[in-house]
């Protein structure tokens, strides 16, 4: 049966963990992120080891190093997604082009997951007017 194991790490441990996992041939399942009720960022790196998902989680950092040098596009796409939808920064990640959102949206725009729904609706109607 599937198991989910949460392992807290610091920002400085992200690269050594990614390096070790890549060397051991471990699959990076996904990179997730969210803001909790106190607006504290949580970024978790889910590595798939047989039936277990080892979730290495960094709390309280909205700027972290990119692990795309180890996991190529498998890391770059989730990082770009988090960058666009949450505004989290990944040092070393190429964000010159948008992945999800239109090219016309400049950096800093379009963080829809963290923008309150009322504000999104207001912006939408303002645009239409």
């Amino acid at each position: 049966m599937q198991e989910y194991r949460k392992i807290p790490i610091t920002k400085d441990e992200i690269i050594p963990v990614a390096h070790r996992m890549r060397k051991d041939g471990v699959i990076l399942s996904m990179i997730h992120g969210y803001l909790d009720e106190e607006n504290i960022p949580h970024i978790s790196y889910e590595y798939q080891i047989d039936t277990v998902i080892e979730s290495y989680t960094v709390v309280g950092e909205s700027t972290v190093p990119s692990i795309s040098e180890f996991y190529s596009e498998a890391a770059a796409w989730p990082e770009r997604e988090l960058n666009e939808l949450f505004g989290f920064e990944f040092e070393g990640l190429d964000t010159s082009k948008r992945l999800f959102l239109p090219d016309t949206m400049l950096s800093g725009q379009g963080h829809i997951i963290v923008t309150p729904m009322d504000e999104l609706i207001d912006n939408r109607y303002k645009k239409e007017d």
Binding site: Y34, V52, E73, F100, I113
Partner: protein
């Protein structure tokens, strides 16, 4: 001299919008880029505004093909946070619906692939056969899409003995049709010419780029969540992981056809060994306390994962949906390189993309 050839967002060979930019020299593709987001509906954002019951209905609408996979994986994740284990009978019913969904999804994709190479007779045969599976799903769930079967703590609807007999009979007929289709596809000269050696993704590239599902298995990577990390009652079923070694579009067709036979095998075993007992928890709605969990499911296109962060209220703090196409789409530029522009549509379609799933 290089030219940029845009494909999409709206293109006859694509069922859903995506934009690919091909850098070409003559007919040859030298490099490619892919851009997504044309179907972004903000489903993850909306999920944070609704309660868990409403979100189950919402996530079922992420995709029209693998709708059950979404609702089931979401409920499995929430059940894991709540510490609830659904009854064995409900797990078997979820397995049956999941495998029927895989059958119709693969039949749909094989049809689309054949249409893309211009073999419309086989396209129509594949879709005609698929109707039998849609009828089975309608019989068991009452719907052709968005079955609404997965609920917290089990399933919404039981399967009667009479329904089992009808589906078993229909499966026998479908299996015969599938054998005919497989024989045609494997021996047809047009199919071979258009698919063999086209859109190659080597085993090494598949592993590096993180390909999953039938797409990875067609590159000879034996990954399958049902075997690697069993969930529901999958560890009680005997089936094989279909892989193929040629790593091209032909391999992707072969793997999906072989998987259909394995799915039929699983459904027959489920009917034979169906446990007795309740199908859900009745009126007892589980409380979802504070916590995080991630569950994986082998959807028709590959591993579908749901990450749910619960904050102790009736609304999730975060529902993160990661679909197979999100993992397989980055492999497309690698597959396109060195092929001709005429094959680009087929190569993009060969990952069995679901851009609605991916964009959410």
């Amino acid at each position: 001299m290089s030219y940029i050839v845009p494909i999409g967002p709206y293109h006859p060979s694509l069922e859903e919008p995506v934009h690919a930019r091909l850098i070409t020299e003559g007919e040859l593709i030298k490099d490619a880029e892919i851009f997504i987001g044309y179907n972004h509906r903000g489903i993850e954002k909306i999920a944070m505004e609704r309660n868990y019951i409403q979100t189950t209905t919402l996530v079922e609408r992420v995709c029209g093909i693998c709708s059950h996979s979404h609702a089931m994986t979401f409920t499995m994740t929430c059940e894991a946070i709540a510490g609830v284990t659904p009854s064995k009978r409900s797990q078997y019913i979820n397995v049956i619906i999941s495998e029927l969904e895989r059958l119709h999804s693969h039949a749909l994709w094989v049809g689309v692939a054949l249409h893309n190479i211009g073999h419309d007779s086989l396209f129509m045969k594949s879709w005609d056969d698929r109707e039998k599976i849609m009828d089975m799903l309608e019989l068991l769930t009452g719907n052709r899409v968005n079955y609404g079967i997965a609920i917290f703590g089990g399933v919404r609807r039981d399967i009667t003995k009479d329904q089992m007999e009808q589906v078993e009979k229909a499966l026998d007929e479908y299996e015969e049709d599938l054998k005919v289709l497989t024989d045609f596809v494997l021996n047809d000269k047009t199919v071979a010419l258009r698919t063999q050696g086209v859109g190659v993704l080597t085993t090494e590239d598949a592993l590096t780029l993180g390909a999953i599902g039938p797409h990875a298995r067609a590159s000879n990577v034996a990954v399958d969540v049902r075997k690697d990390a069993p969930y529901l009652a999958y560890d009680e079923f005997e089936f094989n992981i279909a892989t193929y070694h040629t790593c091209d579009v032909f391999a992707r067709v072969v793997v999906r056809l072989l998987e259909c036979f394995e799915s039929i095998k699983i459904i027959r075993q489920a009917f034979k060994n169906m446990p007795k007992g309740p199908i859900n928890m009745g009126n007892k709605i589980p409380t979802i306390q504070k916590g995080e969990y991630m569950m994986r499911h082998e959807a028709p296109r590959g591993q579908l994962s749901y990450f749910v962060a619960a904050n102790g209220t009736d609304k999730p703090a975060r529902v993160s949906i990661h679909v197979p196409t999100f993992k397989n789409a980055p492999t497309v530029p690698t597959m396109l390189k060195g092929n001709s522009v005429a094959d680009a549509g087929l190569i993009i379609a060969s990952i069995d993309p679901c851009f609605s799933c991916m964009d959410r």
